[in-house]
Amino acid sequence: MSEHMKDAVLGTVLAIVGLFALFYIQYGPGEAIQSSRAANITFRSFPFAISALLFLISSLYVISSLLALSRSRKEVVEDQKEADADIEPPADKTAAPSHSSLRILAVLAMLIGFALLLGKVPFFLLTGVFLFIAFFIFGEKRILLNALVAAIGGGLFHILFVSILNLPLY
């Protein structure tokens, strides 16, 4: 996917968020009960204005991105014509997900797993296992060293957050 297309996709998502927020605040639940009834702006007014602006500006961003995409495609076509078909076709950018993308997904899964188990598994054990797997994902292959650092790290986290800061974790 080209950079301009990525811009357009993100802009579309943001425009949809703005549009949804706009409709939800206008037609969704909620009733003002206090002083601002006397005022001509209510609890809906501020988010209404913000979401409307977000929708408008994100749409503008999408349009600009698509225009730039079309312009860049035209430039590529013209360049190719000028070079008399002597140029190699542009490289296919839809390659397999890069190593760092897989790492991001792995880290994300690990974070969600950590959140699901927080408070259900002893904190020392949870942080130790989290660190051990994270070291491995980040490329540290020395298992014994990883386990040692993870155990020490888990212990330190337990002392700091459970014993000293008294967070409700066990």
């Binding site: 006397a38 702006i41 730039a68 070291f135 790290g153």
Partner: protein
């Protein structure tokens, strides 16, 4: 003011406070030296550790980190040509060529002295203007505060890197996020979707840990496994002679002026200011051709600028409750977490704290000089280490820090969500600092806007009925008009960055 400052210094020199400030500054130097790790990230992961502290020690730790990272970023810029922080990139232009010709220690010495000078300069400006502006700010009404907030957000979206369109979208997204929960005037629920946890709004600190902790790790995962080239030569910091520094007063003063002035504009930060100061000093130099080849003035200008911003950003933060950059945004969040409301009343209701912060700023600058001078080799060792050992700890601190904000796993999910959102926004060039500023200023703007209208019986002319309000409205119109004009002009010329397209 003098009495207040003396009291502030008295508070800061308490052994525990002094120790925290010292440790914070050392940590800041270390974090700054590591490419990819930033001051906001370091401050965010400190949040859970400071919850149980009193407000002043908590803020002093953060101030130390904030000041330390400014200089730390130049270590890797000079030695490896890889700036530890974005603002350090300019220092690499002349710092690295000096290192290549065997003068790394001297280049580090120039950077350290210039940073110290800039920090002290910014501090002097801050202590001069903050009490003055705070007195003026105290006389402001709801309409003034709302207008200043709107102007601040507009300036943020105009001056951040990238385009105004991206800045505006970021600010609007932040404002929209800030409307989740009970509204500040009527206590009516908005965007809560019948989820009880959302009634009290998005936990601000959890969102911050997502944006500045988890998102940064995601963005920097590409750095994992890449070890910096080894610095084989033994490097010791060599301070230039006093006469040499006196002779080079001009770049130091120009840099400090730019740093303090631009630092006081919300959202601009040190990154833009260093390049402007560098270009100015180069233009005024008798030997502009020497710049980029190891000219000491090319190190002094950006480094003094960089640290002078610490004083500049304190001005809007402590007088108006408007943060100058990501780090000060988190510090404002920390104030809120400690039950202190930032804004125009801060100076009146918590003057001890404000003077303590200001005193801490100066002492942190002195600590920064001393630590860099005596322990430079430790930071050189650290900056060559791989991130694979560090990132798991950062992730854990961020998630546990989010949990600690409301003692609920719900905050961890919020942090993860905003981590993913922040990653995608940063990847497309949307500065997340705009979103954060929107979240902070949203409730302040909305509450004051509505209260101003209630007080004036729905009379909108209340926003232009005094000369300061007319001035602020004129500035808002000016900033908006200028951006529309320059954006259209650039779009016509095909300069894409100004119309919100990736370069």
């Amino acid at each position: 003011m003098i009495e207040g400052l003396i009291g502030g210094f008295g508070d800061v020199i308490q052994p525990w406070n002094l120790l925290l400030l010292f440790l914070g500054t050392g940590l800041g130097l270390m974090i700054g030296a590591l490419p990819g790790l930033s001051s906001p990230m370091a401050i965010v992961i400190l949040l859970p550790l400071t919850y149980t502290m009193q407000p002043l020690p908590a803020l002093l730790t953060m101030i130390g980190v904030y000041v330390g990272t400014k200089l730390g970023g130049s270590f890797s810029a000079i030695l490896l040509r890889t700036p530890g922080t974005p603002a350090g990139a300019c220092t690499a232009l002349d710092g690295h060529p000096m290192a290549e010709r065997g003068e790394a220690g001297l280049a580090l010495g120039y950077a350290t002295l210039a940073s110290t000078f800039g920090g002290v300069f910014g501090w002097v400006i801050a202590i001069t203007f903050i009490p003055l502006l705070a007195t003026i700010a105290l006389q402001s009404g709801n309409a003034d505060i709302a207008l200043v907030g709107i102007l601040g957000l507009l300036m943020v979206s105009s001056f951040v890197r990238g385009s105004m369109l991206k800045g505006l979208i970021g600010v609007l997204l932040g404002l929209l996020i800030s409307t989740v929960g009970l509204d500040p005037v009527d206590a009516t629920s908005r965007y809560t979707f019948d989820i009880v946890d959302l009634m009290s709004g998005i936990p601000f600190a959890a969102a911050l840990t997502g944006f500045f902790g988890i998102a940064v790790v995601f963005s920097d995962l590409k750095l994992v496994g890449q070890r910096s080239e080894k610095i084989v030569a033994k490097v010791n910091l060599a301070l230039p002679s006093m006469m040499d520094m006196v002779r080079r007063w001009r770049p130091a003063v120009i840099g400090s002026l730019f740093g303090t002035g631009i630092g006081a504009v919300p959202g601009v930060g040190a990154e833009g200011a260093t390049w402007i100061a560098y270009a100015t000093v180069k233009r005024q130099s008798k030997n502009p051709e020497a710049f980029g080849k190891g000219e000491p003035d090319g190190i002094i200008a950006p480094e003094s600028t960089n640290n002078a911003t610490t004083g500049g950003t304190m001005v809007p933060m402590l007088t108006l409750g408007i943060p100058g950059d990501g780090s000060t945004a988190i510090m404002l969040g920390a104030l809120v977490l400690h039950g202190i409301e930032p804004g125009v009343m801060l100076f009146q209701s918590n003057s001890d704290l404000v003077y303590g912060i200001l005193a801490g700023l100066l002492i942190a600058t002195i600590f920064m000089f001393l630590i860099a001078w005596r322990a430079i080799r430790m930071f050189i060792f650290v900056l060559q280490q791989d991130r694979s050992w560090l990132f798991p700890f950062v992730l854990l601190l961020a998630t546990v820090g989010a949990f600690a904000t409301v003692n609920s796993v719900y905050a961890v999910y919020i942090a993860i969500f905003f981590g993913v959102v922040g990653y995608f926004l940063e990847a497309r060039g949307f500065p997340v600092v705009t979103v954060v500023l929107g979240i902070i200023l949203g409730p302040i703007i909305e509450a004051n806007l509505r209260l101003a209208l209630v007080i004036s019986h729905n009379d909108w002319t209340t926003f232009i009925d005094t000369w300061p309000r007319q001035l602020i409205v004129a500035l808002i119109v000016l900033v908006l008009s200028w951006e529309i004009y320059s954006g259209t002009k650039d779009a016509r010329k095909g300069r894409r960055s100004k119309i919100g397209i990736s370069d």
